[in-house]
């Protein structure tokens, strides 16, 4: 479903991603862990081209992301239109929710289907109501984001991403901005998605979640993937000394 080959990315002189390669199968849940500044969020943002990559090649569901390969092997920028279409099939959930504050919860969830997919309003509304019910917020449809708790906002944000009926969901530290008592309700929603067979890449510091839900756990440090293995392996016998050091600090 996702193939990333030798992705490189620099911010000025800072080389934040170094030859990062990762493959995610359909229905797989991959959790990326690592210290802050390891490039894990940047890598996630490259997967839907919110961050343009310097070189390397990424495909999602067989479609090239941002750059397309010519028959002679050269990579060129893909058209904006293709990029927009591709992004509409990749859901993304952000650390800071990023709900649209001028819209109600329902309008937030309807926005993508109406503006991007151009489906009829009545259909978008029915879909949005069903999704809000799915994340347990049917009664908050008319609330504005400021009237919701962090956990509720994040659940609306998940519903908003799902409204585009994505093939893949990307989660960028979805619980890091939440009060501890609100983390559980958001993780529950993500776990439900995993059970439904959604393909997901999750950047998180929630090790319990990784252990329980992940098919694979990827450890990143200083812009490289150092380890890519099962949760059992990484938590019981981490292969790399940096992984061991990192886990000992946070577990």
């Amino acid at each position: 479903m996702i193939v990333a080959e030798k992705v490189n990315k620099s911010f000025g002189k800072l080389h934040v991603l170094k030859d990062v390669s990762l493959t995610v199968q359909q229905g797989e849940v991959v959790v990326i862990i690592g210290p802050s500044g390891s490039g894990k969020s940047t890598f996630l943002r490259c997967l839907n081209y919110l961050e343009p990559i310097d070189n390397g090649y990424i495909t999602v569901d067989g479609q090239p992301v941002g750059k397309r390969r010519l028959p002679n092997g050269r990579l060129v920028d893909d058209s904006r239109k293709n990029l927009y279409r591709l992004r509409s099939r990749i859901g993304m959930v952000f650390q800071r929710f990023n709900l649209f504050p001028h819209q109600t919860a329902l309008q937030n969830v309807m926005e993508g289907p109406i503006t991007v997919s151009r489906i009829p309003v009545s259909e978008a509304k029915a879909r949005a109501e069903a999704l809000l019910a799915k994340v347990g917020l049917a009664d908050k449809a008319q609330a504005y984001p400021v009237q919701l708790s962090g956990g509720q906002q994040q659940r609306v944000a998940i519903a908003r991403a799902l409204a585009m009926q994505p093939k893949v969901m990307l989660f960028d530290e979805p619980t890091s901005a939440l009060d501890p008592e609100l983390v559980g309700e958001v993780l529950e929603v993500i776990k439900d998605l995993a059970r439904d067979g959604m393909t997901m890449v999750v950047v998180t510091h929630e090790m319990g979640f990784a252990r329980e839900v992940a098919d694979r756990v990827v450890f990143m440090d200083e812009g490289s993937i150092l380890e890519d293995t099962t949760p059992q392996n990484i938590f019981t016998r981490p292969g790399h000394p940096r992984t061991r050091e990192f886990l000992s600090k946070i577990l």
Binding site: L50, R96, N98, T104, E111, Q147
Partner: protein, 223 residues
């Protein structure tokens, strides 16, 4: 009836003439606001464009227009242009000068407003598959324009007062009406105080309108 140097009957006598001028002032202001806002939005989008040429052009525009006094710009438009064969009516020169100048200030206000919206809003919109234009129209501008209202209100009031400058290019608005009255009656104290009060009434009404608008927008935002 007199209050010190003020002869109330004389003032009542000149009011109809001043009101006619005030109507022209309002007309100029409204036109300058409409055209200036269009120019401002356009220039603001140029300035934040990822295309270097556009952002440099936009920056050049605001730099030049904000750096030259409006009075000089009006002289160029009305007295300068005829020498290269472009003759503008006083009205055309006035509206053009005020819109061009107002547009530069409004562009700065809009740019700051757009850039004050958290970066995550654009990212969330893009991640849904929106184009840059859709994200601007559906997500960024609706949020920006509520924040824009207070500084825009100030700019509109400044524009209304700046219309008095076009009196120097023979446009008969409120200020020039006062000047004309004074050449007839030579009673500058009463005439110019009255002109000032009429301006004050108009700007006050304007401030009131904008505060109403702000309240309505705040309600529709759920806050």
């Amino acid at each position: 009836m007199r209050f010190g140097p003020i002869d109330v009957e004389f003032i009542l006598g000149i009011l109809p003439f001043l009101f006619k001028g005030a109507l022209i002032t309002i007309e100029l202001t409204v036109q300058a606001i409409v055209f200036g806002t269009f120019i401002g939005l356009f220039v603001a989008l140029m300035k934040i464009s990822r295309f270097k040429v556009l952002s440099i052009l936009g920056g050049f525009y605001t730099w030049v227009i904000r750096g030259i006094p409006l009075l000089v710009q009006l002289f160029i438009l009305y007295y300068g242009l005829p020498h290269i064969g472009i003759q503008l009516s006083p009205k055309a020169a006035a509206v053009m000068g005020l819109s061009i100048c107002g547009g530069a200030y409004i562009a700065e206000i809009i740019r700051a407003g757009i850039q004050s919206i958290e970066k995550g809003q654009m990212e969330a919109a893009l991640s849904l598959g929106m184009s840059y234009a859709q994200a601007m129209r559906r997500v960024i501008l609706p949020q920006a324009y509520r924040r824009l209202l207070p500084p825009m209100g100030n700019e509109f009031i400044a524009l209304m007062k700046d219309t008095s400058l076009v009196s120097v290019i023979t446009m008969v608005e409120l200020m020039r009406s006062g000047i004309l009255l004074n050449t007839t009656y030579f009673r500058p104290m009463e005439i110019y105080i009255t002109v000032g009060v009429v301006y004050l009434i108009m700007t006050t009404f304007f401030i009131y309108l904008i505060s109403l608008l702000e309240k309505r927008l705040a309600i529709s935002d759920g806050e």
